[in-house]
């Protein structure tokens, strides 16, 4: 039984769904942030699967892999800034629990 594009898309979608459920279920802002990273990586997996699927002349289509490279770079910058914001928030409020941080809530 050979692998098809379907298998990779299904696994990528399941990873995205797990990350999505984590964002909805968990109330700890750091765990929510980790689940966001998981969703980014699910997108990366489907991009690479499509890049491999679009192979021609015996080489994968590298445009998809380039996009994944840039996503990883931007995600690393995003993690650094996001964690700095969380530390600043913790210093101000002494909590990482999203229900305790509701000053923007209507």
């Amino acid at each position: 039984m050979d692998l098809t594009l379907d298998d990779y898309l299904l696994v990528s979608g399941l990873l995205f769904a797990i990350g999505f459920a984590g964002v909805l279920l968990r109330r700890n802002i750091i765990i929510i942030f980790m689940c966001l990273e998981m969703m980014l990586n699910a997108a990366n997996l489907s991009l690479i699967a499509f890049s491999r699927y679009q192979a021609h002349d015996g080489m994968p289509n590298y445009n998809g892999q380039m996009l994944v490279f840039f996503i990883i770079t931007v995600a690393a910058a995003e993690v650094a800034v996001g964690l700095a914001i969380i530390v600043a928030l913790y210093r101000l409020r002494q909590t990482t629990h999203v229900e305790d941080i509701s000053s923007l809530k209507f």
């Binding site: 015996g58 080489m59 990883i72 770079t73 650094a80 700095a84």
Partner: protein
């Protein structure tokens, strides 16, 4: 053989992703996420994206997760573990996620090209060379812009971590 490896690593990745969501201890969650990302890197290698597999291990499982663990240890989050879960929130979240999975399965069933196997790749793929050549030719401008982005992010983090925000 490839299919066996694929399902093995996919199971590791998804299982530890579930562990990230279910664990109450943030340190255990972060360590589960490291293993999940390592499984994802193995899937990248199975898709002949060797360079990105290595980058995934170095950047995500290495640098980013160490940063997460560092912050978790710094903030001392032990008190967060004793919170009670709200049942209606859990049911709502699971229903939304299940609806997403169901819709996804329906879409994948409908894909006109989904059940075809992958084309053949040449025996010795010069992966890093190809990625590098493309990165410094067609994608030269985005590459430099990303460099500026990283610089700006570094400066932003330094300013954010100062004791007093002015």
């Amino acid at each position: 053989m490839t299919a066996l490896f694929f399902w093995f690593f996919a199971a590791i990745m998804l299982g530890f992703a579930c562990a990230v969501v279910c664990n109450r201890n943030p340190v255990a969650s972060a360590l589960s996420l490291v293993i999940s990302f390592a499984g994802l890197a193995a899937l990248f290698v199975l898709l002949d994206a060797y360079f990105l597999g290595v980058i995934q291990v170095l950047v995500y499982a290495g640098a980013v997760m160490v940063l997460f663990l560092f912050i978790i240890m710094l903030l001392d989050l032990k008190a967060e573990e004793r919170r009670k879960f709200n049942t209606s929130v859990i049911i709502g979240g699971l229903v939304v996620a299940a609806a997403f999975v169901a819709e996804l399965c329906a879409v994948i069933e409908e894909l006109p090209f989904g059940n075809r196997t992958f084309p053949v790749i040449h025996g010795n793929l010069q992966d890093v060379q190809n990625v590098g050549a493309l990165l410094f030719s067609s994608y030269n401008l985005p590459f430099q812009v990303v460099g500026v982005l990283l610089l700006v992010a570094t400066i932003g983090v330094v300013i954010l971590s100062k004791r007093e925000l002015k």
